[in-house]
């Protein structure tokens, strides 16, 4: 690094300040990591089954049935794939519905606008759990019979689609008026402008918030277990937990799996977000 000081061995003022800030930042990071480890250790200790005494106080921790855990963990883990699959299918449906919803919300054609706002109001005005049960249990009365998985995907997709409409709308609206005017000036029509100019720019903007929705969705797939016909993570945990009177262990296993996949997908999302941000600068 080039410095203007006469002595080549000494560091410049800027370099010293930079290093000081780096040290402060590192100290913060180490502090956070250390605290996380302590919290995790306390949590593990709470489930360790070890009894100990500090200053005359007896501490009893929770005794888990590790034989049960070893025996049933693979079975519960078998639902993780379905959990992820359900979330992927549902988010795909939600993306399509929210895009249509956003186009409706922005439309100046009254029926399209009304349909979009009606959809959003209806779906946001009723509980997700009710929607899942409704599609699974009430629709068969009308002759529409869906498997637990498809009922769940349909309900989650429709529900998240309504919430994500606002994300899509914001993405589309964030593309400046100047872009539309430039496209109009070269003779493009509304659908060409939407397809070629607005949506490609809007999609880059909505990827991070849709990633957040996906992570939330991963856990809401657990609601599909109420149908009793989607053998995802929570359904499996409940089943073996009840059958063996070991719900504590079974639900803990499921919780750990949800937590781990959430951490993994959050990391993936952070990377996507970082690379999108970099792309903006690098382009």
């Amino acid at each position: 690094m080039a410095t203007t000081t006469a002595d080549p061995g000494s560091k410049s003022q800027a370099q010293l300040i930079f290093e000081l800030k780096q040290r402060q930042l590192n100290r913060f990071k180490m502090g956070v990591w250390g605290s996380w480890l302590v919290l995790l250790a306390v949590l593990l200790l709470a489930f360790s089954g070890i009894n100990f005494e500090i200053g005359g106080f007896h501490f009893r921790t929770i005794q888990l049935d590790f034989a049960f855990i070893r025996q049933w963990m693979p079975y519960i883990f078998g639902g993780v794939g379905l959990t992820i699959l359900l979330a992927v299918l549902s988010i795909a449906l939600a993306c399509i519905l929210s895009l249509l919803g956003a186009l409706g919300r922005l439309s100046r054609f009254p029926p399209a606008y009304a349909l979009a706002t009606f959809y959003i109001s209806l779906i946001r005005g009723t509980p997700l759990l009710l929607q899942i049960i409704f599609i699974f249990l009430a629709l068969p009365q009308l002759g529409i019979v869906l498997s637990g998985i498809w009922a769940g995907v349909l309900a989650l997709g429709i529900n998240y689609g309504a919430y994500m409409t606002e994300i899509m709308r914001a993405g589309i609206q964030s593309v400046g008026i100047g872009q539309r005017e430039a496209a109009l000036a070269i003779g493009m029509n509304q659908s060409q402008i939407m397809r070629r100019i607005v949506l490609p720019q809007a999609m880059r903007l909505v990827i991070p918030p849709i990633g957040n929705e996906f992570i939330a969705m991963l856990k809401d797939t657990a609601l599909i277990s109420v149908t009793g016909f989607a053998w995802e993570t929570l359904w499996r945990a409940q089943k073996v937990g009840r059958a063996n009177f070991r719900s504590l262990e079974a639900l803990l296993i499921a919780a750990v799996f949800y937590w781990i996949i959430t951490i993994i997908f959050s990391a993936v999302q952070a990377r996507i977000e970082a690379s999108l941000a970099k792309g903006d600068r690098g382009r």
Binding site: A183, G187, Q192, R281
Partner: protein
């Protein structure tokens, strides 16, 4: 000679504000007209009414034989506006390049998507226009990698690629750093020399003085003074013109 642009009794309102007041003028082929005036005088609105980015409220616009009235609706009317836009090219103050496309992609977007030109042909045409604005080597650069002056030159190439009969420039250098204005004016000068019909809203008085055939000075939605640069700049008749020109340092108001 038959005019290529004719604006006839044009009126425009923004809500209750009367921003263009019964304006009429005509532009001859290869003529360069510069519209000057204070901000808020209606000069940009007038330019944007010519390609219907703003819908005028009364009157009509004619470009290369196509007359489009201010009032109308339906498919046929929209088609007329579309055809009118194909006859005009526009350059904006803030460039408005498409950020997700390279320089060349920006330039060929109109020919390929709107005109249905074959891609190879559009690329030839696009490179021809990028070369004209001196940016052939930037064909694969995204707008964020280009300077303001370079972006505006790509925007000019994009407009030219549609082979318009009239170019509309809406304050093309107002968003540029001073040292980048020259490169854009050079490209515009080149177009003047090639005989392009140009309507330019500008604050670059030296460009207007040197290259315009006619100056329109606007104030409060009206044409205050119209004439050749020598007359407007050196011998302004109206007091408002004098005030404006002395404010921008082009006239000694004695």
């Amino acid at each position: 000679m038959k005019p290529i642009v004719r604006v006839d009794h044009l009126d425009k309102y923004f809500d209750r504000l009367h921003v263009l007041k019964d304006l009429s003028f005509a532009v001859a082929p290869a003529e360069v007209v510069c519209i000057i005036g204070r901000s808020g005088s209606g000069k940009s609105t007038l330019l944007r009414c010519i390609n219907f980015l703003e819908q005028p409220d009364h009157g009509s616009v004619e470009v290369a034989g196509l007359v489009v009235p201010a009032e109308g609706n339906g498919r046929e009317y929209r088609q007329q506006i579309h055809d009118l836009r194909l006859k005009t090219g526009m350059v904006f103050q803030s460039f408005n390049l498409f950020p997700h496309m390279t320089a060349l992609e920006n330039v060929i977007e109109g020919p390929v998507t709107v005109k249905g030109t074959a891609k190879e042909e559009a690329i030839d045409l696009g490179m021809h226009n990028l070369t004209k604005v001196g940016l052939a080597d930037k064909r694969d650069a995204y707008p964020s990698r280009l300077s303001g002056g370079q972006q505006q030159r790509v925007a000019i190439a994009r407009a030219l690629a549609m082979q318009p009969q009239v170019m509309l420039f809406d304050e093309p250098t107002s968003a540029l750093d001073p040292e980048l204005i020259g490169e854009v004016l050079n490209v515009m000068q080149q177009l003047v020399e090639e005989g392009m019909t140009m309507l330019t809203v500008t604050h670059e008085m030296s460009f207007a003085y040197q290259f315009a055939h006619r100056i329109i000075f606007m104030d409060d939605g009206r044409f205050v003074e119209v004439g050749p640069p020598g007359q407007i700049f050196d011998d302004p008749q109206d007091n408002r013109t004098r005030q404006f020109l002395s404010a921008v340092g082009r006239f000694e108001n004695k």
